[in-house]
Amino acid sequence: MSLDPSPLDLAAPGFGNPTGPIVRFENVGLRYGAGREVLSDITFKLHPGRFYFLTGPSGAGKTTLLKLLYLAQSPSRGAISMFGEDASVLSRERRTELRRRIGVVFQNFRLVPHLTVFDNVALPLRLAGTAEEELVGPVTDMIEWVGLSRATNQRPSTLSGGEQQRVAIARAVITRPDLLVADEPTGNVDPQMALRLLHLFTAMNKMGTTVVLATHDSTLMHRQGDAAVMRLEKGRLDDPTGVLRNPPDRKGMR
């Protein structure tokens, strides 16, 4: 299926458009088996270096949309383009290469239980073939940045929920991905740590990473005033000219 040249452009008025979109969804729908569609007619573009919030009530399809974004799911219909490539025709090898450009913070962290904090954070670098001597410095710095230096050699089961979440975030950003997708990344941390993590995402964003952050936290969205907001309602993306635009509409975030 060819891509429509003018789907919902979340970097359009007021956001500038430095280069072409790195993600493009056109009329994307997703259903599991013969059930009803959990996502319908999703059309948008994400531009490089932008910051996006994805919000909406529980069960609206945020996690499912994020799964499509980090290539863990294929749509039932419509077209998805990632980094300029049609996702529906990607070979498995190429799909893996694209995945390495995406950092993911999973909602339930998904840390590897038998690995220490250090090894969990180092995992994406090791999978990408980074030499051991080259990864020690960055991994140690990242663990220090998320405030878990004392827990470097501990396993996830010995950490609190908030600490595990910080390990998951460190793991997602360690490769400095082009696209960072985070599912409720501040859900288990105190407001102070949430702010600190937002600063980390902002710093990543300033270095050029496109950030998509699914959250219910309106305070967080207000703090990142120049971000675009996507709102999902019952599997459909709201009109971008209203709720989805910066500054975030309080009504749309409720």
Binding site: S74, R100, V112, H114, T116, L123, P124, N153, S157, T158
Partner: protein, 323 residues
């Protein structure tokens, strides 16, 4: 979620114990991406037990074959001529003539007439000392001692030798009966052959059971690692990367199990070999040769290969279901 005080205390205890474990037994700086124990599950135990059983059964089959071959080598080409004449003098006369005839017969490599003492020794257990001493076999004795002649045939004469011996003795020793030593071995050979087939069937059954057990154990262990496989996949691991990791972990665990099973089997075979040393050639345990041990060593190696292969195809199949 509201937790009870008991649940909170339990979580605190678990975290404390985990922290102490990590402090006292820290993971190495570059821990393997996969936990050997988690990937292997019961595979090493399954491989160890099945390897031990299969190796012992296979060793039994090989040892029986070795014993049969040794007995055959000893008896092949051997022929016994027995002359039981009506009177001792006639018997002796026919024996002497038979020896002369046999020495000139083509294909006969060795002829030995058993002396009186040796024949008496053969009969003594059956007739008793009194019979042997009171009526000393001889010209006047009522007891006529049969004459025995042992001879060996050349390898190329073994098929036709018996008939030519009978023809050659027909005139000089009409009371002679000729029998090939191999004829005595025939019933034993049949029994050994039946036992060998039993061992082959047992090994085949055990190999099948081992393969099925390894397959099921590997699949169940890998199913437990489904999350790890998916995380690696989503973090950008190539299918072959994940498959290689699991294959290596499963192979190493299986190798440990296979080595343990083989060691147990080896000890059992050696212990049994000592008990049955008299039946075998005596130079190796249970009559096994070095090449038999190599064949036996292939059993755990095949188990390891099977476990690694199963891990690979299972992981690849799991990954193929992920987009």
């Amino acid at each position: 979620m509201i937790m009870t005080r008991r649940e909170r205390a339990w979580i605190a205890v678990k975290r404390g114990a985990g922290a102490l474990r990590d402090r006292w037994f820290p993971e190495p700086a570059s821990a393997p991406l996969l936990s050997q124990k988690a990937v292997a599950g019961p595979v090493p135990w399954v491989i160890a037990i099945m390897t031990a059983l299969t190796v012992v059964a296979a060793a039994g089959g090989l040892a029986l074959g070795s014993i049969a071959r040794t007995a055959e080598a000893d008896l092949a080409g051997g022929v016994t001529v027995q002359i039981a004449g009506p009177a001792q003098a006639e018997t002796r006369k026919q024996a002497s003539a038979a020896v002369d005839a046999l020495r000139n017969l083509p294909g006969v490599t060795d002829v030995r007439r058993l002396p009186d003492a040796e024949r008496e020794a053969l009969l003594r257990p059956w007739l008793g000392d009194a019979a042997m001493e009171d009526g000393e076999p001889g010209e006047d004795s009522l007891l006529v001692l049969p004459e025995l002649i042992e001879l060996r045939l050349a390898a190329d004469a073994q098929d036709t030798g018996i008939e030519s011996i009978r023809e050659a003795l027909a005139e000089p020793a009409p009371d002679a009966t000729v029998s090939a030593d191999m004829e005595w071995l025939a019933p034993l050979e049949g029994a050994i052959s039946a036992l060998q087939w039993l061992a082959v069937a047992l090994v085949a059954l055990l190999v099948t059971a081992t393969a099925a057990s390894v397959l099921l154990a590997s699949r169940s262990a890998l199913a437990a690692n489904h999350d790890t496989i998916e995380i690696m996949h989503l973090l950008g691991a190539h299918d072959r990367q994940v498959a290689q990791m699991f294959q290596k972990a499963a192979g190493l665990s299986a190798a440990a199990g296979g080595a343990a099973g083989f060691a147990v089997a080896q000890a059992t075979i050696i212990a049994l070999g000592r008990r049955f040393a008299d039946l075998g050639p005596g130079n190796t345990a249970a009559g096994l040769h070095w090449y038999d041990w190599i064949a036996l060593a292939l059993i755990p190696i095949a188990g390891v290969a099977l476990a690694a292969f199963t891990a690979r195809i299972t992981v690849l199949a799991t990954l193929r279901r992920m987009p």
